[in-house]
Amino acid sequence: MTQINVRVDGASYVDDVEPRTLLVHYLREQLGKVGTVVGCDTSNCGACTVHLDGQAVKSCTVLAVQADGCQVTTIEGIAGSEPGAALHPVQRAFHEMHGLQCGFCTPGMIMASIDLLKENPDPSDDEVREGIEGNLCRCTGYQNIVRAVRHAAAEMRGDAADDPEASPAEVDTAASEHVVEPVAVQA
């Protein structure tokens, strides 16, 4: 067993871990941070993505001992911790643009997207697609994820009318940006 000191989502932990323990298993099994999930065993799917000292990592490719002395942020730590706290603009955009269905890949997808927007605050569709290609989604076909990331990017740059950082998640109303035009051909 090796002792580690880690700060996760704003709280400090001192724990003994087996040297072989992966960061994702430490988060899930020892800290109960089950918002971060395991989707594969080859670091292909990205479902376990967290931020290690501010940078996106797949927490199944990091040993817990490597996180000693580091700050870890998970999906549970990007909005305020108290109930009803403002969502992160990327979280809100995934909701508003229907960027998730089953939601299993979503925590990793959101964490990867936040990192992408830090590197490139105004990505094109293709840059988003390349930027998140390490994260797999089986439900959405990615189109609404791309739309969500670009929508969040605009908000975070301050291009949107409202200040997204200050306002809470919008209540559920019809998404005006989302254009679907059914042609009524009633038989």
Partner: protein, 832 residues
């Protein structure tokens, strides 16, 4: 005191919820990580189960020693197949498609022999996940290898090695549907004998892996002789029934819960060996037990999909009028029959004709055993296979006749004024307008411009050629009318159940038997009920996925949730309103017939200012102080809905594909589709379902294939080798809708969950062929890897010859195919 909001009596009804792009209620927990995946669950004293799996595809277990594993630290128990043989029963197959179907039985854990790589051989139960996994290494097993059967066309030959030596062939069943013999079509053999043109092709539907993102997990908590089982399943209701029948745990002592479930796509429509084993171990030990699979285990042992070899013959006259369709199918069952393995090709049996008016139709299918993991439902289940075959053969026929593929389709499809139309497969298609959807899709993709560019590239001899492919498809959804399932020998019905509970504060609980895993039932069902009861969307909670809460249900698959389960919800709401009407009449001192119900409020016709809301009636019912004589004090209601017919969504999908003839690299340039899924309850959710389906259908065409080597090892056993597309691998989709409400369905919905997946695959392949057909290419084997495309362009054939040995992708000549197929031989050549 009342908790019910005051609302102005007699105000205009609020805007209808159905049709609005409501954002999803489900999202709040999913985007914040406050989820309840099965693997999240921790219980006091919980033990962990790990499975030792067979490394050989076919063999006899000659030696199995677990004694060293039992001595490993933190190991509580180790079991072999022999230990559990008396209590494990056989995993169920609920669909004996013919009376003679051979089911070899399916142990959850191997007892004497193993029949596919990954089959369970021993299980370790330990205090931690890692201790259980570590102890697997201490188990000693010897196998006597037996001949490995992998190729279906060889497996059905006389004298072939057997997958199961206690049955006398590798053929499980021979299913036939003949439209002529059933009196719904002309004689097929005569149609072919008389035909001016016959085109025959052999298509390969490669084996796919559903690859839901959440790996499967099971937790069982015993409490006395009661058991609660959480599972990452699509089918908690069916699972409860089947586990009771398999293990002997009485049904009323077993509660099954599907918490948050991370995708299924048919892959979690199953009763798995691990669910049975976890329950058996928890029963033996009296302790909570958890099993969670790794991704490698999932790809290797969760059921696969597709895997058919199709011999398709089409007959026509020289003017392009189709005369008959004949399909002979080999369907790979894998080593065993799982829940609906044999039913998958049979679901396709009635859809091979697609949207076309074939006067004659015959379908034959052999279910074949091989030493691979079983196949079962995967998004579309039988219908993608059928759609691929007909949409590909129509293109081939068009080439043979020198016709435009769209012109040939228009000439033969069912016209809008011909609905309802009974096909030569005996299905009655409900409604639609194939021409309208096609016209809209052509506009959406910019068809004329693309054809002009294709011409330019052809003439310039551009190394990157452009092709355009169509799929004008229909599918059958809304599984299913119980009587029809009965006529096809399925073991259960196809109804769905719902309950509505009116709470004293006016809030509403909707209980549905349809269990979601990403489809957005909580949102869509809330929209349905808000319209029916006139209560706010936010006042409705949808409960599901727990057999103790939702006691009756048949779960989610086959695009049935809205079409069947949604109607049950609507019907329950209608009953609630009827019951509330009696109470309202009493409280308003009026005759029931004089009451209007609008916007959630009953009012006396012609008496402005009178009125009581249904939410106020809920409180009055709770108190029951002033209730009509002889009426039970409840306005709650249940409904069970069994549809009369399937529904038939349709659409036109068009793919524009660039093919680099120098490298074989294919790239979708544009993809447009117009789907008619009937009335749209939530356009946001519908569009999302279409996108996701497209991704999976395109992935079959371009990326995915489960490949076994010559020894029966799955070589695509991780996401490194099994190519789920990433965002960078998929194009932008242009989607649209036409709307023909489903007649006979109170919502008017037809189902959308599988449409994109069913329609897209042939559009993509047809597009690639259209790009290179002038270079002499007539077929390219899926998936269209650069190597296969390059070989097809430069070396002829379909590019599949160099695929890994032991897969159906391995080339077989049509002469071999003829001998392999049951029934009459395929007709060689294109002409008679």
């Amino acid at each position: 005191m009342t908790a019910v909001e005051d609302r102005p009596v007699g105000s205009l009804a609020p805007a209808k919820e159905v049709g609005q792009a409501r954002l999803r209620k489900e999202d709040a927990r999913l985007i914040t990580g406050r989820t309840t995946w099965t693997d999240n669950m921790v219980l006091p004293g919980m033990l962990h189960l790990a499975v030792l799996r067979s490394p050989v595809a076919h063999g006899r277990i000659t030696h199995l020693d677990v004694s060293a594993a039992k001595e490993r630290p933190d190991v509580v128990a180790v079991y072999t197949g022999r230990d559990l043989a008396e209590e494990q029963g056989s995993l169920p197959c609920a669909w004996p498609v013919t009376p003679e179907m051979v089911n070899p039985g399916h142990p959850s854990i191997a007892v004497d022999s193993v029949n596919h790589v990954g089959e369970a051989v021993a299980i370790v139960v330990a205090r931690s996940r890692t201790a259980a996994a570590d102890a697997l290494e201490a188990i000693d097993v010897d196998y006597e290898p037996l001949p490995v059967v992998l190729d279906m066309e060889q497996a059905v030959q006389d004298g072939a090695a057997l997958v199961h030596d206690h049955i006398d062939s590798n053929t499980s069943f021979h299913f036939v549907f003949d439209g002529g013999e059933n009196g719904v079509a002309e004689d097929t053999e005569q149609a072919f004998a008389d035909a001016e043109v016959v085109v025959s092709r052999r298509f390969v539907q490669q084996r796919l892996i559903p690859a839901f993102m959440e790996p499967r997990a099971v937790v069982v908590q015993p409490s006395g002789d009661n058991y609660t089982l959480w599972s990452s399943t699509q089918i908690p209701h069916i699972l409860r029934l089947m586990l009771a029948m398999v293990t002997g745990v009485p049904e009323h002592k077993l509660r099954v819960i599907a918490p948050d479930v991370g995708g299924g796509f048919g892959g979690k429509l199953q009763v798995t060996p691990e669910e049975v084993l976890t329950l058996l171990v928890a029963r033996r030990l009296g302790k909570p037990v958890k099993w969670t699979e790794t991704r490698s285990e999932s790809l290797m042992t969760a059921h696969h999909g597709r895997d058919q070899i199709q011999y398709i013959d089409v007959a026509a006259d020289r003017e392009g009028n189709v005369k008959g369709l004949r399909c002979r199918i080999l369907a790979d069952m894998g080593a065993y029959l799982r829940l609906v393995s044999p039913g998958v090709p049979v679901l396709g049996a009635f859809m091979f004709g697609g949207i076309y008016k074939f006067p004659a139709y015959r379908f034959e299918c052999d279910g074949v055993f091989t030493n691979k993991v079983p196949t079962d439902a995967y998004r579309g289940a039988g219908r993608p296979e059928a759609t691929f075959a007909v949409e590909r053969i129509m293109d081939e026929l068009a080439v043979e006749l020198g016709m435009d593929p769209l012109e040939l389709r228009r000439k033969n499809w069912i016209n809008a004024e011909e609905f309802p139309f009974t096909t030569s497969a005996g299905m009655t298609y409900d409604s639609g307008d194939y021409g309208a959807a096609t016209d809209q899709a052509l506009e959406l993709i910019g068809y004329d411009e693309l054809r002009a560019e294709q011409q330019r590239r052809r003439e310039a001899g551009d190394p990157v050629q452009l092709g355009i492919g169509f799929s004008t498809f229909t599918e059958m959804c809304g599984l299913a009318p119980s009587r029809v399932l009965g006529s096809l020998s399925y073991g259960a019905g196809g109804w769905e159940h719902a309950s509505i509970r009116m709470l004293p504060t006016g809030k509403v609980e909707v209980v549905t038997g349809s269990t979601p895993h990403g489809q957005g039932h909580e949102t869509a069902w809330s929209q349905l009920v808000a319209d029916q009861l006139g209560v706010p969307f936010e006042d409705i909670e949808v409960l599901h996925g727990d057999t103790a809460i939702s006691s009756r249900g048949l779960d989610t698959y086959g695009s049935r949730s809205l079409v069947v389960g949604g109607v049950a919800v609507v019907n329950a709401a209608v009953k609630v309103v009827a019951k509330a009407r009696a109470v309202a009449a009493h409280l308003l001192e009026a005759n029931e017939d004089d009451l209007d119900f609008r916007g959630g409020t009953f009012s006396v016709r012609g008496t402005p200012g009178s009125g009581i809301s249904i939410q106020e009636i809920a409180l009055a019912t709770f108190a029951s102080h002033d209730f009509p004589e002889g009426v039970e004090p409840s306005i709650d209601a249940d409904a069970t809905y069994d549809p009369d017919n399937f529904s038939f969504p349709h659409g036109t999908h068009i793919c524009a594909m660039e093919v680099d003839t120098e490298t074989g690299f294919v790239k979708i340039r544009k993809y447009a589709c117009v789907d008619d899924v009937g009335t749209i309850v939530n356009p946001l959710i519908v569009e999302g379902q279409v996108h996701g389906g497209l991704a999976q259908g395109i992935a079959q065409a371009l990326y995915e294939e489960a490949i076994y080597d010559a020894d029966g090892n799955l070589t695509t056993g991780s996401f490194v080798d099994y190519l789920i597309p990433s965002a960078a691998d998929l194009p932008h989709f242009d989607t649209g809708n036409t709307v023909h409400a489903a007649p006979g369905n109170p919502i008017g919905a037809k189902g959308v969950g599988e449409a994109g997946c069913i329609a897209s695959t042939p559009a993509v392949v047809n597009a690639a062929l259209d790009a290179v057909r002038h270079l002499g290419v007539t077929d390219i084997r899926m998936p269209l890897t650069p190597e296969r495309v390059w070989r097809a362009v430069h070396q002829g054939g379909d590019g599949g010859e160099r695929a890994t040995a032991g897969t159906n992708a391995q080339g077989a000549s049509s002469a071999e195919a003829a001998g392999a197929s049951a029934g009459s031989a395929p007709i060689e050549g294109d002409h008679l």
